[in-house]
């Protein structure tokens, strides 16, 4: 079953078209990486799913229920964590979660139980001071607790790790991994190592459309073994190889390093062996999401 389905979503701000026919489907119990450059339309898509922005075209379904702008009943299925969550700084974490419980329509005892449980999960169980003094990482953890409070089916995280230091990032990713058993997570980010670490599926967004979507393995396979790199010991040797194999191209930073396509891999190796060209390094490039990202968003 698909927790989130987006069909032909369009959104313009003034004359600027931010989303132009975006299609996306997020299967249940996946951690779905939503990847794109700044301004690609990630936050706009997420806000449209939450009913905070009115789309100019297309449909959004959460748990097979159509999302309506303004009054949005589908938000009962969703937990939302913005990139920099802001809370009422004069409240304590427990007071804030109780406030969230009340406005979500949860009953008092369930809110109390769930708040305690979640504050423990995010490591804020002992924090009784006001949110005012919280660090960014603590706010992010409280953000996860509030997002999970009403047991959502879908957790939407908008670049949750972008503003954090490595330790804070690890903590957030660990919490998301721990939560994945019960819920589906839609996770926007630029940090591709985070996607490789926790996501099961991902989509690359380009110019308001999904350019590529699939499981992480499928995405990596799209670029499997289509490139190799050879590094020579001398500049003349590199120039000789470029002359011999026209499609070899020199690295922008290091003129001794040449990139070539898979079809000439063995021919280049043979040529290097036959002509006793001193080679420092020759290797197939492992497919990475980064290379795919750069190619897709080029």
């Amino acid at each position: 079953m698909e927790v989130l389905k987006i069909h032909n979503l369009e959104k313009r701000f003034g004359g600027k078209e931010v989303l132009c026919g975006l299609d996306l489907s997020v299967p249940e119990h996946s951690i779905f990486g939503f990847i794109g450059r700044n301004g690609a339309g990630k936050t706009t898509t997420m806000k449209a799913v939450l009913g905070l922005l009115k789309p100019d075209g297309g449909q959004i379904y959460v748990m097979n229920e159509k999302v309506r702008f303004g009054q949005t009943p589908t938000n009962r299925y969703i937990g939302y964590l913005p990139d920099v969550p802001e809370f009422y700084s004069y409240m304590t974490p427990l007071e804030y979660l109780h406030f969230c419980g009340k406005i979500s329509g949860m009953d008092r005892s369930d809110t109390a139980l769930r708040s305690k449980e979640l504050l423990e999960l995010v490591g804020l169980g002992q924090e009784s001071c006001r949110i005012k003094g919280f660090s960014r990482g603590m706010k992010q953890r409280l953000g996860i607790a509030q997002a999970l409070l009403n047991r959502p089916k879908l957790l939407i995280c908008d670049e949750p790790t972008s503003a954090l230091d490595p330790a804070g990032r690890k903590e957030i990713l660990d919490i998301l991994l721990a939560a994945k058993e019960q819920i589906t997570i839609l996770f926007s980010t630029h940090i591709l190592s985070d996607v490789e670490r926790i996501c099961t599926e991902a989509a690359f967004l380009k110019e308001g459309r999904v350019a590529v979507q699939g499981t992480i393995a499928e995405l990596k396979n799209m670029r499997r073994s289509d490139e190799f790199v050879i590094e020579t010991a001398k500049k003349e040797a590199a120039d000789g190889l470029v002359k011999m194999f026209g499609d070899l191209r020199a690295d922008e930073c290091n003129p001794l390093t040449l990139h070539g396509s898979e079809e000439h891999f063995f021919a280049v190796m043979r040529y290097a062996a036959e002509n006793r060209i001193p080679v420092q390094r020759i290797e197939r490039i492992e497919p990475t999401l980064e290379s795919l990202f750069l190619e897709v968003t080029k």
Binding site: P82, C100, I103, G105
Partner: protein, 256 residues
């Protein structure tokens, strides 16, 4: 209803913990004390200045002050209190848009109209409390020093000015739903009041404008009768309902 009360409770906690409640109470108490105090000190101040005034050709004769002097001061000071009130609460909505705190509440299923209703309820309750406190203090001192009986239609006059405050606050709510920053809210609210004040120069429309309620102090001296404010009261009430309704409709359709 549960969500509305939860948000209202949040609003109360906010004004208590951010110190806004204390500031407002001090402000209205100060204005409440200032009215009779200025009246009481007027003869003494004039006596102090009598020599300078005499040099300028003014003769200070026997100055008598009474409750009327104090009430006149009340109607001079209360607009300043209202301006301070509007400035203090001009970021009630926009502060939440800017920080993103409202965004999380809305994604939890809180409808926009409940935000407008809860904030309106809090703003009007606080205005009523502050205004009532200021009025009660002035009334108490006046009763102690002089006789409030000298002022005609005292309660009607006070209620009319309170309604003017309610009208201004509801404009604040409307512009807060509409605008993204508090400078815009203050300028629009002030601009709307000034525009109507300017229009009140036209004799034919004056009676229908809520800004007429600002002159309710003239009831005290008997230069006007309460009936003269009937149309302005109706216009103010209609405008209050219209502003809050428009605020709700705007908030329901607001893109965050």
């Amino acid at each position: 209803m549960k969500a509305l009360f939860a948000f209202l409770q949040k609003e109360c906690l906010e004004i208590a913990r951010t110190g806004k409640l204390i500031i407002l109470i001090l402000l209205f108490v100060l204005f409440g004390i200032m009215n009779p105090a200025v009246a009481k000190l007027t003869p003494w101040m004039l006596e102090m200045l009598s020599e300078q005034l005499a040099e300028s050709g003014f003769a200070v004769l026997d100055v008598t002050v009474d409750a009327m002097t104090s009430w006149t001061q009340f109607y001079k000071n209360i607009p300043l209190a209202l301006i301070a009130y509007v400035l203090i609460f001009s970021d009630s909505f926009t502060g939440e848009y800017r920080s993103g705190t409202l965004l999380l509440a809305l994604t939890k299923g809180l409808p926009g109209y409940k935000v407008v209703l809860a904030k309106t309820m809090m703003l009007l309750s606080l205005w009523t409390l502050g205004y009532g406190l200021c009025f009660a203090i002035t009334w108490g001192y006046n009763a102690y020093f002089w006789d409030n009986g000298i002022a005609a239609h005292l309660l009607q006059s006070a209620v009319l000015w309170w309604l003017f405050g309610v009208w201004v606050i509801c404009l604040l709510v409307l512009f807060s739903a509409l605008m993204q920053n508090n400078t815009g809210v203050v300028l629009s609210t002030g601009g709307a009041v000034l525009l109507l004040y300017g229009l009140s120069a036209i004799p034919k429309v004056k009676a229908y404008l809520p800004v007429l309620l600002m002159n309710s102090g003239s009831l005290l001296s008997g230069t006007a009768e309460p009936d003269a404010y009937g149309k302005a009261v109706l216009a103010a009430v209609a405008s209050v309902v219209g502003s809050v309704t428009a605020g709700i409709l705007i908030m329901n359709k607001k893109q965050m």
